[in-house]
C-alpha cells in the first residue's frame, strides 16, 4: 500500500499542535517521526490511526484494495490494549479474531518474541517490558501492511530491541510500511526522518499570549 499525507495540521483543545506536515510512504519504506517531548509525535500517529481528525490536510491510501486506512494498520503505543486478567494467549487470540487476516498462532508469535513460557500467564503478572512484547506479538498474529509504533522500544531490553528490528526489517521486505515515533535509533535501515517542529503560536491560539520567558522574582 501507499500512504500519502498532504499539509496535515492538527488542533487539540484550541491549541495548534503542528501544521503543514506532508510525507509519502511506499511499500517497504519506513518513517521515523522525531521531535522534542510534546511536539506532537503521538498526535500524528493518532491522526494516522483515524482517532483524531486533522484540522486541514488530507490523508490518502492507495493500492490497499477496499480497506479503509484504519483497517490497514496495527498500532502499538503507550496504551497497550491488553486486558490484565486474560492470559497472553487469550489477548492475542482476541486481537487476531477482532482484526482478521490471521497469519500466525498466538503461541508462534509469542515464541518468536521469546515469551513462549508466558502463554498461559495472565498479563497482569508480566513486567512492563514483557507486556510490551505481548503487544508487539500482535503485529505477528495478523497481517496488516502499516505498522504505527509509538516509542516501541520503551521498557524493552537490548535483546528484544534486536528482535523488534528484525521483525520490522522482515515486514518491510514483504512490502510493509513502518511509521515509528521515537527518540532512539530503532535499527531501521535507510528510514526517512520526519522531524516535527512545534507550530508557531498564532494570535488566536489559546496560550499564545503566555510570556516567552518565565520570569522569577
Amino acid at each position: 500500500m501507499r500512504l500519502n499525507a498532504q499539509n496535515l495540521a492538527v488542533r487539540r483543545s484550541g491549541r495548534r499542535i503542528f501544521s503543514d506536515l506532508s510525507f509519502a510512504l511506499g511499500p517497504g519504506e519506513a518513517l521515523m517521526v522525531t521531535g522534542r517531548n510534546g511536539a506532537g509525535k503521538s498526535t500524528l500517529l493518532a491522526v494516522l490511526a483515524g482517532r483524531l481528525k486533522p484540522e486541514t490536510g488530507t490523508l490518502t491510501v492507495s493500492e490497499a484494495g477496499e480497506a479503509t486506512i484504519s483497517e490497514c494498520l496495527h498500532v502499538v503505543g503507550h496504551r497497550d490494549g491488553l486486558k490484565s486478567p486474560l492470559t497472553a494467549e487469550e489477548n492475542l487470540a482476541f486481537a487476531r479474531d477482532l482484526l482478521g487476516a490471521p497469519t500466525a498462532s498466538p503461541r508462534a508469535a509469542l515464541e518468536e518474541l521469546g515469551l513462549g513460557h508466558a502463554l498461559r500467564l495472565p498479563v497482569a503478572y508480566l513486567s512492563a517490558g514483557q507486556r510490551r512484547r505481548v503487544a508487539l506479538a500482535r503485529l505477528l498474529v495478523c497481517r496488516r501492511p502499516l505498522w504505527l509504533l509509538d516509542e516501541p522500544t520503551a521498557a524493552l531490553d537490548t535483546a528484544s530491541q534486536g528482535l523488534l528490528a528484525g521483525m520490522m526489517a522482515r515486514h518491510r521486505a514483504e512490502g510493509g510500511l513502518v511509521i515509528a515515533a521515537t527518540h532512539q535509533a530503532l535499527g531501521l535501515e535507510d528510514a526517512r526522518e520526519l522531524r516535527i517542529e512545534a507550530a508557531k503560536p498564532r494570535p488566536d491560539d489559546i496560550g499564545a499570549r503566555a510570556p516567552a520567558e518565565e520570569v522569577w522574582w
Binding site: A49, G50, R51, L52, S70, E71, L73, H74, V75, G77, H78, R79, D80, G81, L82, K83, P85, L86, E90, A93, F94, A95, D97, L98, L99, G100
Partner: protein, 223 residues
Amino acid sequence: MVTRALRALVARDLALAARVGGSGALSLVFFLMIVALVPFALGPDLNLLSRIGPAILWLAAVLSTLIGLDRLFQADEEDGSLDLMTGSPVPLEGVVLAKVLAHWLTTGLPLALASPLFGLLVALDDRAMGATALTLLVGTPALTFVGAVGAALTASIRRGGLILAVVVLPLMIPTLIFGVSASEAALGGTVPFTTPLAILCALSLIAGVIGTLAAAAALRWSE
C-alpha cells in the same frame, strides 16, 4: 469475518466478567441486598410487601443494572482496547452491540432468572413471580441499552460513574413504569397483562436501535 470478530468480543467480555475483578456476580448480589433490605425497612406486613413486591424488584433491577455499566467502555478506553476495536472491520455499532449483549448476559439475564427466588423475600405469590420474571426478561435489555449511551458519553471522564447514574436514571423511567404496570396487571385489574408487556417489548426494541447508534456516535465524538 465480522461474525467471528463479534463472537470474539462477546466471549472476551464474558471471560472478563468471570475473572477476578469482573462484575459478574456482583450485580446479582447487589440485587439481593436491596430486595432483602426492604422487608427490614417496612416491617413484617405481608400484604403490603406482596402489593409493592413487583415495584421493589424492578427498582432493584434498575439500580443493579448500573453496576459495572460505568466500566463498560471506560475500561477499554483507558487501556487502549478501544483503539484496537476501531481498527477492526466491525463498525463501532457492532462493537457496541456485542458489548451490550455481553453486559446483559452477565447482569440482566441473571436478574430475570433469579427474580422468582428473590420474590419470596417480598412475599410474592407464584403468579406474580412468573409475571415479574417475564417483564424483567423483556425489560432489562432496554435498561442496558439506555445505560450504554450514558457509559459511552462518560467513557473518557474519570470517576464518571455518578454522572452516568444521573444521566441514565431519568431515561430508564418509561421502562420502569411499564415493567411495574405489566407485573401488576398480571395480578388483576382492568388492563390485560399483554398490553403493558407489548409496550415493554417495544421499549426494548427501540432502545436497542437508538441506544446502539447513540452509544457508537458518542464514542466517535469523544475521540
